[in-house]
Amino acid sequence: MTAGQVLLDAASKAGFYGLMTRSMGPQIRGGEAAALLRISTRPISSLDDHYDLLVAFDWGNINRFAAELPLSADSLVLADPTHGAMPEPIAAYGARAADLALKDIAATIPGGRVNMVGVGAAAALIGLPLDAVLQVVTTQLARKGEAVLAASTAAIKAGAEAAAALPATARLPEHAHDGAPRWNISGNEAAGLGALRGGIKFVAAYPITPATEVLEWLAPALEKTGGVLVQAEDELASINMVIGGSFAGLPSLTATSGPGLALMTESLGLAVASETPLVLVDVMRGGPSTGIPTKSEQSDLNIAVYGLHGDAPHVVVAPTSITDCLFTTQWAVYLAEALQTPALVLSDQAMGQSRIVAPQPQPAPFKAQRLVAEGGLETYQRYALTDSGVSPMAIPGTPGGQYVADGLEHNERGTPSSQASDHQAQMDKRADKLSTFDYGAHWADIEGEGDIAVITWGAVSGPVGEAIERAKAQGMKIRQISLRLLLPASPERMAEALAGVRRILIAEQTHGQQFTKFLRAHYDLPAERVVVNRPGPLPIRPNEILSRLLAWK
């Protein structure tokens, strides 16, 4: 991981853009892990079809994740000969191989480590300026003292020298920094920042992979900006603490992953019924049950959309890229507060735990803005029927606004009621406030034109975008629709977006085609369609989409 981080940071220093995802085994510490990088002269939001260079520090447990390291015949595999022959699943790719005596080289340097030798060799091979690498290491290791820094510097240089004797591999072009400010951020950090920018002041949560970094980033950031984060005893507590914090007047958020979301669903219904705004960031991992905690999937869609008991209209949004985790989470804060309802943000491990070097994100205007009841409360009714369906919320401390928030069906005043007319009226209210709201153009990212459309969402939007670019280069015209707003559905906007489209491809990372079924339930789709779907953890690659698109050429 350190090696990957150094290379990504160095690429950024040298003016490139980049993306790094990670593949982690089940071990708590150590064990197999791979840092998967793509470096480019322009902003990217997807991994490529294969890797040009694989530096193997060892072959431990390679069978478990070789499938996540696709190589081509042109790729180069560097490995220390003392680790033995190239294991079968890697050899099967038919890539070129070369020996790099990582251990021996490291041994010539006091305190020298193989990973830094590998960094030096990789940087030299791909044409990443050594200066940039050394600068990054100098900043990163400043705290660790002179000796460590000297050892690392020497190891990197030795690796770079050794690269001269190695076969050539794909190289980065000469490239000057364009001077534009850029950020190095993970999806989980971006979600945390989106929450903060949106105005979140209270967070309660229970740790779970791969969502914990959202919380770990938020804890100090909130504390420094007058907010509070509490570690709850479980997800039942965290969602209810968040409901309490929000009822008390603070924009509130929790973050979790599938198992935690499952525990929270009863209380999400309470937030719907009591019209208590909150944001829930769900960083999806492989399911069901404990599933594959460290790896990505989009399979919480069903529970997020349909998991609440009763008719419980709520908001579900999904970021379309790592950087968009910022925008979408910030938007979710705005929506939850404006609509007084829970807003779920469906991120995933592939976005959450990946880092990107990207242009500095544009600020978005969205802020928590709750309609609150302030004066003239003599006849205050918390759940008053209004044109928008949103009724002013009295915040504790406001004289005359006392009411009892309730998950029991209630009348306009909030008094429990099992009367048919109250149930109908309050159900209409809770549904209408969502369906009549103007979500603007953010409901989806739509690009391109033509009579073919690819509909996708979340992390799969990246490879789809890249596939469409390549198809365009081959003369095809294709439209991309990446949904950001999943609930409520926007049938009119979708009809507009699909105008003139005859064929669609749907791409998603689930086994059961959850997204496809969701689309079919909510939208009129052209009959001619193809679905590209697969469960995690193997990400859908651009060429898989491309080959399906080219069949329509």
């Binding site: 190095n184 920018r197 209270f202 507590a237 929000s246 309730d406 029991l408």
Partner: protein, 275 residues
């Protein structure tokens, strides 16, 4: 703190008619709670009253403060959220023995140890009233009047005050619905005591446990000094018959409240991402 007001217990009652059976102990708890609220001298809007689900949990709707009637078992979590978000409010949570000790048992333990400055009233009738008379965690093992457990549960009950002490509650008291003035006094004392205060109220269910009408003959005031060390309280509660009323333990742990600072601008925080 807002200025002293001169509201009466009646001012803290709402006009919503309770769903409780005639004679239910919860009426007296309602009187005690509203009396305690009046004695606090705080305006109605500065009090938040949070509950779960059950007959007893209906109580916030019958008061005139800000309330939350949540889902079964989670009153303490909502209440902690309210207090952590808004330390300026007086936060009271209430509910039944099933709500607080069965489905919400985990939150009870953690509320005791977290020690957020709030007060929790458990209206214990040793039965699930709302669902029409099943055994709760405080029901005796040989109680056979539920169709669900016709032979009794065979499981020994939990004694709420002992559980609270073991879990680290900072203030523990027991009252009896038949003596609402004492209950009111205990609630006020609990609210004034820093940290988490637990008020265990024996509140008869006249419908499913009519024999609890006899409680008036078995409750008795406690002996011993509640402010003594925890070891003494452990000793005392380990032999307690469960009907002792009064303050059972008053600890000295400071209340939990995370610090808040405004020491960084968004620009500083976001600057870390510049690369």
């Amino acid at each position: 703190m807002t200025v002293q007001t001169s509201l009466t217990a009646q001012d803290f009652k709402s006009d919503v008619k309770p769903i409780w059976c005639p004679g239910c102990g919860d009426y007296a708890v309602l009187s005690a709670v509203t009396k305690a609220m009046a004695e606090l001298g705080r305006p109605r809007e500065d009090i938040a009253f949070i509950s779960g689900i059950g007959c007893s949990s209906r109580i916030p709707a019958y008061t005139n403060v800000y309330g939350f009637h949540g889902v079964h078992g989670r009153a303490l979590a909502i209440a902690a959220g309210v207090k952590l978000a808004r330390p300026d409010l007086t936060v009271i949570a209430a509910g039944g023995d099933g709500d607080g000790l069965s489905i919400g048992g985990n939150h009870f333990m953690h509320a005791c140890r977290r020690n957020v400055d709030m007060t929790y009233i458990v209206m214990d009738n040793q039965v699930y009233g709302m669902t029409k008379g099943q055994a709760s965690p405080t029901t005796a093992p040989d109680w056979c009047n539920s169709k669900l457990t016709p032979e009794g549960t065979g499981i020994s009950p939990v004694e709420p005050a002992r559980l609270a002490l073991a879990s680290g509650a900072n203030f523990i008291a027991r009252g009896f619905a038949g003596n609402p003035n004492e209950v009111a006094r205990l609630i006020v004392e609990g609210i004034h005591h820093p940290g988490f205060s637990f008020i265990h109220v024996l509140s008869p269910c006249v419908t499913y446990r009519p024999e609890q009408r006899e409680w008036k003959n078995v409750v008795h005031p406690g002996e011993g000094d509640p402010s003594k060390a925890i070891a003494e309280a452990m000793q005392r509660l380990s032999t307690d018959d469960g009907y002792t009323t009064g303050v059972l333990f008053a600890g000295t742990r400071p209340a939990f409240m995370p610090a808040r600072h405004e020491k960084a601008s968004m620009a500083e925080i976001e600057g870390k991402f510049l690369s």
